[in-house]
């Protein structure tokens, strides 16, 4: 088995491209880490600080602390552990996104669990990473979301397509995917890389990334709208 992270994250942007977008003199991107285990947390901090262009501004040991601290810190990227004591990383993500819609949140998970990842994405996460990922892939993923892209695996893509198709069969679908967005998702679910999708659809790789970003946003919007609908109809 090789380096799985390359495949998990279909980078919509090449690294040099993003690096070029970031002026050399600008201050490093502020990263906040939410992780409850102290040993793991320290290692992450060291790793993040070793990545060029990134600095770990702060760490939070719980979701509650993250909700208190992060709005005051206004970081560029939040790395969120999915399993936290009490409030889960998914719930914390949802609450943070409600306060700060522009905040980029990447979910860190020890196991690949499509259902959990899907839930995290619905909660507003901008992507997810395996904890055993290489620092290079972590940097690539962070640059990707900062550049307006969104990493997505073919598994997730298939689930997203299915969920939107199912939702559109309901009497009053709240959110639709555009034809192009669906095309991107279908190709992604068939195993195409972002670059291949771009050439297949004759669009730029950045455009593929931004399509994915929009799809994430729609998922988030839909899940929130559904939550509201459930609340209104009293089916909570």
């Amino acid at each position: 088995m090789g380096d799985d992270d390359v495949l998990l994250l279909h980078n919509s942007h090449g690294l040099p491209h993003i690096a070029a977008m970031m002026p050399a003199y600008s201050s490093p991107v502020k990263v906040v880490l939410v992780e409850d285990k102290p040993g793991v947390r320290d290692s992450w901090v060291k790793l993040i600080n070793s990545l060029p262009g990134f600095a770990c501004a702060n760490t939070c040991a719980s979701g509650e602390e993250a909700l208190r601290l992060i709005p005051t810190l206004n970081p560029g990227v939040v790395l969120m552990d999915i399993f936290l004591p009490r409030m889960s990383g998914i719930e914390c993500t949802a609450r943070l996104k409600l306060q700060m819609p522009k905040l980029q949140i990447l979910i860190l998970t020890a196991v690949e669990d499509d259902e959990l990842v899907f839930k995290a994405l619905e909660a507003g996460a901008d992507g997810y990473l395996l904890k055993r990922t290489t620092p290079e892939s972590l940097r690539a993923a962070m640059l990707d979301v900062l550049g307006g892209g969104a990493p997505m695996t073919s598994e997730i893509a298939r689930r997203v397509v299915e969920s939107f198709r199912r939702a559109s069969q309901q009497p009053r679908p709240l959110v639709h995917l555009s034809t192009r967005e669906e095309q991107v998702l279908v190709l992604l679910s068939k195993g195409y890389s972002n670059k291949e999708i771009a050439s297949e659809l004759a669009i730029g790789t950045e455009t593929v990334g931004s399509h994915l970003k929009h799809i994430y946003e729609k998922m988030h919007v839909r899940s929130r709208a559904e939550a509201v609908a459930r609340y209104v109809s009293g089916n909570v």
């Binding site: 088995m1 495949l7 196991v111 195993g191």
Partner: protein
């Protein structure tokens, strides 16, 4: 008692009628001598006193136009009988048995009865009638109850006040012999109140004593009697159907109890089975959780520590190279462990999880190779059960096929197709590589024997289509309902779903 007053009034009426009858000839013949009148008056006195004495012998009220009913009511009646002592609010049980003479062919049988004041009448233990008005004789047609053999007549009489008595008569006409009359007389028995099931008793028991004869019909105080005749409802023998018989009901009950016991036993077996299965699943989940929690978390930490340590070494140093190796190894270990956890975890026993896992695996596996991995997966695959042996063997077979493609095909593109075909799952691995000519005796270059064996184990099939220059296509087909059929208890097939955090934390 009413009848005493009534009796007096009736006697007066009778006397007056008699006097009038005597007087009328005198009126008709006014020329009668005066002395005769005196004699007549004396006679009248005599007659009237005689009338009082003999009143019971005459019809009390003006006789009805048709007196047949009276004849019928009284012709075949016996004597008034009762217990030796009489008291108010008395219940008296009277009993008699009789046997139909052998060879007798009864034409008709009529039973007449009355009791002062009321009665319940039993024929062979079956209650066939009741009465509460002593002045009315009730007639029952018992012809159809008269089957050959012994019969028991039983009357439970009730006295309200003062005098009491039973008058009874059973008149049987035969085809081949003289009529028979069974009347109330001293041959009846008085049954003590302590006697149980006396109405069906064949013989009198010790302690039963003969009934006492009070007197004949029209005896005081029943001089003017009866007032009427009623006919009871027609009596037919009770038909006892086989399902009404005791033995049948008993067997049915036994059968039911057996069935209930059998059901309970089966239920217990099923719940034991389900419990064992649940325990096994719980255990698998626990093992998966333990591996994941203990080893997985530490491996992740190892990777992180290795990465940090690597960065602290000078670039291109041998220490850094070794740390690189450690990190790579730890990642591989972590990945391998994920596979174990996936295989062991009962929560992943679904078709959907299998599909998702195989697709991920294929993509990861082919990523370092020049082969592009394409997925063609049926959308909305259901979350149906896909048991561990099936998914494990199928996964290993697919792995083998992928391995072959990576090693020998030289393909540019590989399709992994997962679809359902009825009750079967079809997984195809297709490449556009150089292909080969499959030969039955060509050895096991492509691990075909292995794949066949794996699929056989789980009741599936493995087919290979290839030709030189035309790529290769391996098709695996497995049944979606596992061979150990638990189909009739579908809820047992549902993989248990403990809370997620249980596994993950």
């Amino acid at each position: 008692m009413l009848k005493v007053a009534k009796r007096r009034r009736l006697c007066e009426n009778v006397a007056r009628d008699a006097a009038l009858n005597l007087m009328s000839p005198r009126e008709k013949h006014p020329g009668l001598r005066r002395s005769n009148v005196c004699a007549a008056l004396a006679a009248l006195l005599m007659i009237s006193s005689a009338a009082v004495c003999f009143a019971p012998l005459f019809a009390a009220d003006p006789p009805p136009a048709n007196t047949n009913w009276l004849v019928e009511a009284t012709n075949h009646l016996g004597l008034w009988i009762w217990d030796t002592n009489t008291f108010d609010k008395q219940t008296c049980r009277l009993w008699k048995s009789f046997q139909l003479p052998p060879g007798a062919k009864p034409l008709s049988a009529t039973l007449r009865i009355t009791v002062d004041n009321g009665y319940s009448l039993f024929w062979d233990g079956r209650e066939i009638g009741r009465g509460s008005d002593w002045r009315t004789v009730t007639k029952y047609d018992v012809t159809r109850l008269l089957n050959p053999g012994p019969h028991q007549l039983a009357v439970e009489g009730f006295n309200d006040r003062l005098e009491a008595g039973l008058m009874f008569g059973l008149h049987i006409e035969f085809q081949n012999r003289p009529d028979l009359d069974l009347l109330s007389d001293e041959s009846w028995f008085i049954v003590p109140e302590t006697q149980k099931s006396w109405t069906t008793r064949q013989r009198p028991a010790a302690g039963w004593h003969p009934a006492m004869v009070i007197g004949p019909i029209h005896r005081h105080p029943w001089e003017v009697w009866p007032y009427g005749l009623t006919t009871g409802p027609p009596l037919v023998p009770l038909v006892v159907h086989f399902w009404q018989t005791g033995w049948f009901q008993l067997s049915l009950l036994t059968l039911l109890l057996l069935a209930v016991a059998g059901c309970a036993w089966l239920q217990a077996q099923l719940s034991l089975h389900a419990r064992a299965r649940r325990l096994l699943e719980d255990e698998r989940i626990r093992i998966a959780r333990d591996i994941h929690d203990d080893l997985g978390a530490q491996l992740t930490q190892l990777v992180l520590l290795g990465e940090v340590a690597r960065r602290e070494q000078p670039d291109k140093s041998s220490a850094q190279a070794q740390f690189n190796q450690i990190c790579a190894l730890a990642r591989e270990l972590s990945h391998g462990m994920d596979e174990v956890v996936w295989a062991v975890n009962a929560r992943r026993d679904t078709l959907r999880d299998f599909t998702s896992y195989v697709c991920k695996y294929a993509q990861l596996f082919l990523n370092p190779t020049p082969i592009r991995c394409r997925l063609d997966v049926e959308s909305d695959l259901p979350v149906i059960a896909f048991d561990l042996p099936v998914r494990r063997n199928l996964f290993l077979a697919v792995k083998e096929a992928l391995n072959n493609a990576a090693k020998y095909s030289g393909a540019a593109e590989l399709f992994l197709r997962i679809h359902r075909a009825g009750e079967r799952l079809v997984v195809a691995v297709e490449d556009d590589g150089r292909g080969f000519a499959p030969s039955p005796s060509g050895g096991d270059r492509h691990g075909l024997v292995n794949m066949h064996e794996r699929l056989e184990k789980i009741g599936g099939t493995c087919e290979l289509f290839s030709a030189p220059g035309a790529g290769c296509r391996v098709v695996f087909t497995v049944p979606l309902i596992s061979s150990e059929s638990r189909g009739w208890l579908p809820w047992l097939r549902q993989p248990s779903t403990p809370p997620k955090s249980e596994l993950e934390r």
